[in-house]
């Protein structure tokens, strides 16, 4: 059998699929449970063992979620914040990564140290001083306070620097000979070449902004301005927890992320890049 390359390949492909199926089941299992929980009343979830088959409370739960936390509204808020955050932050990170990878300039070392330091410091100790800053700017309960401080994203900068470090200089030079300015070169020539990493960056940035919890909780003091995680947090009370509402809300909250991921999939596929450059 090993002498038959086709058979070996079939076996190999079968093995690959088997591993993917196994991994997929493990990845999916908790979501299946969430989906099940979202269709039951909270009281039913307290049975032991908890129900494994879908129940009939989905619409009731949805209506309650809308009534108790205005789910549609907070979904819209989250979407706006995450889109703005992702667009600006990805651009800033990509530019900074490029600058660090491709230029020597005075202060580069200090900047790199600052990037690393903000990445290394546990975020929790920065909360109080950062909060004080926002308060003295009069920004408490505003979206700029939620978005602005975290636009410069160390992880993103390093990810993009990583992508640019090995990037060929001849291409940049030739663009420059063609008369492109620095910024134009960057947008037209350089960025399209790192699409896979850019796709990853956008996905990660959006996910982080979307799921961000403690900072928006500290900043926002109006229920109408809440984001999804902050609003879902109010479903947990002192002596009662709306588990089915929580599960439904969390499940619905992952849908936009999945949509985004599928959208940016394209970016991960190198084949699509052919001819896309230097148009």
């Amino acid at each position: 059998m090993s002498s038959n390359p086709a058979a070996v390949r079939r076996l190999g492909r079968f093995a690959v699929r088997a591993v993917l199926v196994l991994g997929g089941v493990v990845s999916l299992l908790p979501f299946l449970w969430m989906a099940t929980a979202a269709t039951h009343s909270t009281a039913d979830l307290f049975h032991s063992p908890p129900p494994l088959l879908p129940g009939g409370q989905l619409l009731d739960n949805l209506a309650r979620l809308q009534e108790s936390i205005g789910f549609g509204r907070v979904l819209f808020n989250s979407l706006g914040i995450a889109v703005v955050h992702t667009a600006v932050s990805s651009l800033v990170s990509a530019m900074c990564g490029y600058g660090l990878a491709k230029y020597r300039f005075r202060g580069r070392g200090v900047l790199l140290a600052a990037v690393l330091a903000t990445m290394m410091i546990p975020f929790q100790v920065l909360l109080v001083p950062l909060f004080q800053m926002m308060a003295s700017l009069g920004w408490i309960d505003s979206y700029q306070a939620v978005i602005l401080p975290f636009l410069a994203n160390s992880f993103g900068i390093l990810l993009m620097r990583q992508a640019f470090v090995g990037f060929t200089d001849e291409l940049i030079e030739s663009a420059r000979i063609d008369g492109c300015g620095e910024l134009r070169t960057f947008y037209r020539v350089v960025l399209p070449c790192v699409r896979p990493q850019l796709g990853a960056l956008v996905t990660f940035t959006f996910t982080a902004a979307w799921n961000s919890f403690i900072w928006p909780l500290l900043m926002l003091n109006t229920e109408d301005k809440y984001t999804v995680p902050v609003a879902l947090n109010t479903l947990t009370g002192l002596s009662r927890v709306d588990y089915s509402g929580l599960m439904l809300g969390s499940l619905l909250a992952t849908l936009p992320l999945m949509a985004l991921f599928l959208l940016f999939q394209r970016q991960f596929v190198a084949g699509l890049l052919s001819g896309a450059v230097k148009g």
Binding site: G23, M34, P49, C96, M120, Q124, T168, A270
Partner: protein, 310 residues
């Protein structure tokens, strides 16, 4: 080692492999054009908080009055069994969980990179799913799945004749649960980064290897892996940082318990600062975490990086 750094791409001649790896020494201005926005944001929003927390680590407070205590807060850590326990727990995760997760992520990325695979997009999305769970869902779901009595995992184990495991209440099992759930959540995430790296490697690299008669496995280990090295290192360093800053998962799952078995430095500093209002000590712990991250990341670069001088 020439291959280490070049993210060659085959597809477009415009993105052809290059040889120059040094940042060009051009005017300072050009560099700042690109780095400026990020630098301004850092200076505006992080200079003060970073400085304030560093200063705070040399102080103590009693009912609102602040006293300068020099290095006392740092010395306290040496004799603080809870802090030492938190370091040991972190060490265990670093040594066991991070390598396993990155290994799995590599395999996953390689599988997802197979060109013959149909529905690749769906497969990728499926494996990325855990990384997008909200924390509150993560907490509730795993509390329920890992329940000792009638939890879904124990029910599945029971079906194959394994007696129930006390997943979250026994110190050893709690550590294992944390490692498993961390791996569940972050493997797909790292696989996506590695996949982006794999996609940057030109098709003819694979083809050239195939012409040499190398099998798929050999192609990966001999040709692809060495080129992926910087990306692997990137994953290793960011995972290390994530581990040393671990807070979310063990806080929501076990609050650092039982008996501090899943306590990490950041959960500890959160308790010290936000529950015991000992902000000076919390800041000192934070800066020790920074020092540890810097040291370990530097070691990783030295050991595996071999990144060319820029």
């Amino acid at each position: 080692m020439t291959a280490v750094n070049t993210h060659e791409r085959s597809v477009a001649p415009a993105c052809a492999p290059g040889t120059v790896r040094r940042p060009r020494r051009r005017g300072h201005l050009s560099g700042w054009i690109f780095a400026g926005p990020a630098a301004a944001l850092f200076a505006l929003f992080f200079a003060y908080p970073l400085g304030a927390s560093l200063l705070q680590s040399f102080t103590t407070e009693d009912a609102g009055a602040v006293h300068w205590v020099g290095l006392d807060q740092y010395q306290r850590m040496l004799h603080d069994p809870a802090f030492i326990q938190s370091l040991l727990n972190t060490g265990l995760i670093l040594v066991v969980q991070v390598p396993v997760m990155i290994g799995l992520a590599l395999v996953l990325a390689a599988l997802l990179n197979q060109s013959w695979l149909r529905f690749r997009g769906t497969w990728r999305a499926l494996h990325f799913l855990p990384a997008v769970t909200t924390l509150v869902a993560y907490a509730v779901v795993f509390q329920v799945l890992l329940k000792t009595d009638n939890g879904l995992v124990n029910q599945i184990l029971g079906a194959v004749g394994i007696s129930p495991v006390d997943w979250l209440n026994d110190p050893t099992w709690a550590r294992i649960s944390l490692i498993l759930t961390l791996t569940w959540r972050w493997t797909g995430y790292n696989a996506v980064i590695l996949l982006a790296g794999l996609q940057s490697i030109g098709k003819e690299q694979y083809e050239a290897a195939a012409l040499d008669g190398a099998g798929t496995f050999t192609t990966y280990t001999r040709v692809i892996l060495p080129q992926l090295r910087p990306v692997i290192l990137f994953c290793a360093v960011t995972s290390t940082i994530g581990t040393l800053q671990l807070f979310d998962e063990n806080y929501v799952l076990t609050r650092g318990g039982p008996d501090n078995a899943t306590l990490t430095p950041v959960v500890y500093l959160y308790k010290v600062g936000f529950q015991q209002f000992d902000f000076g000590y919390a800041a000192a712990i934070a800066w020790v975490v920074v020092a540890l991250i810097a040291a370990i990341s530097a070691l990783q670069y030295l050991a595996f990086g071999r990144e060319r001088r820029r």
